[in-house]
């Protein structure tokens, strides 16, 4: 199939009314979920996943991508109106968004946030289209040793998603990697921790694990606390809306923030929050209005939102081209690809190029949908911000049970989901992050598989792992990432030591 034929096939997939409907639905669900305090974009994507089983792959994946993008923007609405970031990436938006809302200019702040999100999202999507194919064609020459080195490098994601304690992040990742060994051995076909139970022979179901880890702990925590969350009352939108002048004034910061988001998003594990803060600090450093930053400056809102939305498309670059997740949400989206019989990675551009290009087109469309749906959501925010936790928590529980059951029509998966929920809650209480656990669980089988394939190829000689310049490149990148991690670890330990002495 020629490139033109692929584009025509892709267009015919996207130009279908169902594609448009599911994408719009996804953006709507994402914006609403992101706007509800306590429901993260990650949880929204995890809970939407079971609803895609019955859909065509392209519709299901567009629905999830819509939820992802909508969820990231939706987080900015409570950040501005009630000073409660809906997602960690929206924390930087609060710095100037809430002071603007207090001054009665919430509508202006939200308008600028929406325009910044859409423009940065578009920049990010265009970067994805430009770079993913190129990177995938480069990755086509990878053999098992190159993939093994790449996955080892990808595991440095863990440092980025470990939160306060890297050691706990590493413990969680080792736990996830271990859990992934359950099931029949891939080389010899012998039992590993399945004890002859057919339910365990294929390993634990990925979706049951992720729903348990990301949705249930919040519910269990609600049962423990048994209190309604109280937050500041939502500020009124005020009379004003973002003007063309505001947009013109912020455009430089928006484009720069979008590009910062693209660069940081393409590096596995960095995520939206650092991109938002870096974009914000760069805008503050170069703006003529730098004295107003932190007191209610629209350029600060624009920079923060551009940074965190610029990440969205870019995190799909390693996902689509190399088959490794850029962050936790794309790790969930990898699962969605697999459920629909698609394996993300360089071969996807060969075997399912029409779907890849259809996704690219859908992503561009999602930026436009975000503009329309986001502006409506801003006006109806009060309806969703006041959903009581005492009704929301059991409703999420019911969604978890139905969604997990639907994977294989199996109550065993529901039991696994509850068990993982218990583990997730224990991790929450002990301050052990859940994201590295999930990354380990997803990358574990790939890591082991490529390691053993390499060893089979070389007859057990480890030199195979340094056989080509590509493996050297990934080992060098891993060493560089580890050097940064160790340096930051020493810095934080030294800071903790100083704090305990004083």
């Amino acid at each position: 199939m020629s490139f033109a034929d692929t584009l025509v096939a892709a267009f015919s997939l996207v130009a279908h009314w169902e594609s448009i409907l599911y994408l719009a639905l996804g953006v709507t669900v994402g914006v609403v979920a992101g706007a509800i305090p306590g429901v993260s974009a990650t949880m929204a994507v995890a809970l939407t996943l079971p609803f895609t089983f019955a859909l065509e792959p392209i519709y299901g994946i567009l629905l999830l991508l819509g939820v992802y993008k909508g969820g990231i923007f939706g987080g900015s609405i409570p950040a501005i109106l009630i000073k409660t970031p809906g997602t960690p990436a929206s924390s930087a938006t609060t710095l100037d968004g809430y002071p603007l809302a207090e001054r009665g200019e919430a509508g202006r702040a939200l308008g600028v946030a929406l325009y910044a999100s859409c423009i940065a999202d578009l920049i990010s999507n265009l970067s994805l289209i430009l770079f993913a194919g190129w990177l995938a064609s480069f990755a086509l020459s990878f053999g098992p040793p190159e993939f093994f080195a790449l996955i080892v490098f990808s595991l440095t994601i863990i440092a980025g998603v470990s939160g306060d304690s890297l050691i706990k992040g590493l413990i969680a990742a080792a736990g996830g990697l271990f859990l992934a060994t359950i099931g029949l051995d891939l080389v010899y076909g012998t039992d590993r921790f399945s004890f002859g139970d057919p339910n365990l022979m294929g390993g634990l179901n990925f979706i049951a694990v992720l729903i348990g880890l990301f949705a249930l702990p919040e519910i269990i925590a609600h049962v423990f606390r048994a209190k309604e969350d109280v937050h500041d009352p939502a500020r009124a939108l005020g009379g004003g809306w973002a003007t063309l002048g505001d947009l013109r004034r912020c455009l430089k910061s928006i484009v720069r923030g979008g590009l910062i988001g693209v660069v940081l998003g393409a590096i596995p594990g960095v995520g939206g929050a650092p991109a938002a803060f870096l974009s914000y600090s760069e805008a503050q450093r170069t703006s003529p209005n730098r004295a107003n930053f932190g007191k209610g400056e629209v350029e600060g809102v624009a920079a923060a939102e551009a940074g965190n939305n610029g990440v969205c498309g870019a995190t799909l670059i390693p996902l689509l081209s190399l088959g490794v997740p850029g962050d936790v949400i794309t790790a969930i989206i990898i699962g969605a690809f697999m459920i629909h019989g698609l394996q993300p990675g360089p071969m996807l551009f060969v075997t399912n190029a029409d779907i890849v290009y259809a996704l690219f087109m859908g992503l561009i469309l999602s930026s436009i949908f975000l503009l329309g749906i986001g502006s409506v959501a801003i006006r109806i925010f009060r309806l969703v911000s006041d959903i009581p936790k005492s009704v929301l928590a059991p409703a999420v529980l019911v969604l978890c049970v139905f969604g997990t059951f639907a994977i294989n029509n199996s109550m065993f998966d529901v039991a696994v989901m509850f068990a993982m929920g218990g583990l997730g809650y224990l991790m929450l209480v002990l301050g052990v992050p859940a994201a590295p656990f999930l990354i380990g669980f997803i990358l574990g089988p790939l890591l082991e598989d490529k390691f053993r394939q390499s060893m089979l190829m070389s007859g057990g000689a480890p030199e195979i792992f340094v056989r080509s310049p590509i493996t050297w490149l990934f080992w060098a990148l891993t060493a560089l990432a580890l050097a940064f991690i160790i340096a930051s670890l020493r810095k934080s330990w030294r800071a903790a030591g100083t704090a305990s002495e004083t």
């Binding site: 304690s165 590493l170 080792a174 271990f178 051995d185 012998t190 139905f402």
Partner: protein, 163 residues
Amino acid sequence: MARLRGDFWTGLGVVLLGLLLVFVAVPEGVVSPRSVRIAVLSPAFWPNILAWLLVVLGGVLAIRAARTEAPDPVTAQASSGRAAGLARLAVFAVGVVLVCLFATTLGLVWTAMLAFFGVVLLTGTRHLLAAIAVAVLLPLALYFFFNHVAGVPIPQGVWVRLP
């Protein structure tokens, strides 16, 4: 500081878990064929490496936490709130077991409704009418979506069957 001292027990727990995996779970749970000539290709190689990694990381966490100060004292009021919370968690855990055991017999829709009410009763609410409406409508809506749109046969139970 309380978190750091808590980290000591977390680390110790991880070390014990790792040792349990190395000396009990891996030897008992992994079947290694005798024909394996290269040790790194053995089905037990990877689980063993990961279990030892847990031991080492747990040890590092425990040692780091042991070198810090004692935890802050827990107040009586916080302690009583914690006891009530733990009691609710115990009831919730029993409820989860009941859901897993009886969902197929009772029907997933009715079980979900009961589970919803159970959580509401356990945590309390000032929005009882809204809770009742959602408890009834949400499982029904999900049943109709999964059963009739997605083609997933939701367990109907043996007593009351839905169309």
